[in-house]
């Protein structure tokens, strides 16, 4: 029954979007977390999505495709240095490294992830109503 597959498809998309929302929250929370060296400083994280094709039983071709998170990538853009000799984390020259988090990017990501999540909730609700109506068939 293909309608049941929708629960899996929309569910995987919701979990992927919540991972994305998680990284956004982490990025925004650490937007001002300075570091002593370039290696120890926080870098903006982004999840990588990939389609999860799955052939249903008795079919040669995959019709449904869920979403899976392939991994989390860190932004490799160079970090800005800020002169802050009073900061206990400052290096010998008196500089701290700032994370390469762009708050505007993160806000856009947050809205996009939240809208996509809501979209999948709607799909799930509609499919559930369709299934329940099918169960009442003939009554």
């Amino acid at each position: 029954m293909s309608l049941f597959n929708i629960f899996e498809i929309a569910g995987s998309a919701m979990s992927a979007q919540s991972v994305r929302l998680n990284t956004t929250a982490s990025n925004l929370a650490n937007a001002e977390t300075v570091g002593t060296t370039e290696e120890t400083t926080y870098r903006a994280r982004q999840p990588v999505f990939a389609a999860m094709l799955k052939a249903m039983h008795g079919e040669s071709e995959a019709t449904g495709a869920g979403v899976r998170v392939l991994g989390i990538t860190e932004d490799q853009a160079t970090l800005q240095q800020r002169y802050a000799p009073d900061n206990p984390l400052a290096n010998a020259e008196g500089y701290v490294f700032m994370p390469n988090v762009n708050p505007v990017d993160e806000m856009v990501n947050m809205i996009s992830a939240s809208r996509s999540y809501q979209n999948n909730v709607e799909v799930l609700n509609t499919s559930k109503q369709m299934l329940l109506a099918t169960l009442r068939l003939g009554q």
Partner: protein, 132 residues
């Protein structure tokens, strides 16, 4: 003329299966709205319906006690086609959220309509059986 339940229900069961499959395909498109390089897919309901109605799968009856099967259409693997995007996107994703939402809603309404027709057919059969 013996009345088969399959023919009494008409094309509704086939339509219901196809509508269910189409909603799954569109749900996949919506789920992958943010997946890079994902191409939106769909199938033409009308042509698939015609195919299902014309291609009746026949089983070979090689023994006297074999029962000839009829009514099961070739609904199995619906050939999926790629949707032509309105505008290209930088990440190779061809899902247009609004188009997919509209298609999903349209499909859901059609599913409910098919269910309503099916219910009325079943009610008609019940009336015929009861005779009151």
């Amino acid at each position: 003329m013996p009345l088969s339940i399959d023919s009494a229900l008409g094309p509704m069961p086939d339509a219901l299966i196809l509508r269910g499959r189409r909603s799954e395909v569109i749900a996949s498109n919506l789920a992958n709205a943010d997946t890079p390089n994902f191409k939106a897919r769909d199938f033409d309901f009308q042509s698939m319906m015609n195919k299902a109605r014309s291609e009746q799968v026949a089983l070979n009856t090689t023994h006297a006690s074999h029962i000839a099967m009829n009514g099961a259409g070739g609904i199995g693997g619906a050939p999926l086609q790629y949707r032509v995007p309105n505008q290209p996107s930088l990440d190779g994703n061809s899902v247009d959220l609004q188009v997919e939402q509209a298609a999903f809603a349209e499909n859901a309404v059609n599913y409910e309509a098919t269910l309503t027709f099916l219910t009325s057919r079943i009610k008609g059969l019940m009336t015929a059986i009861r005779g009151d």
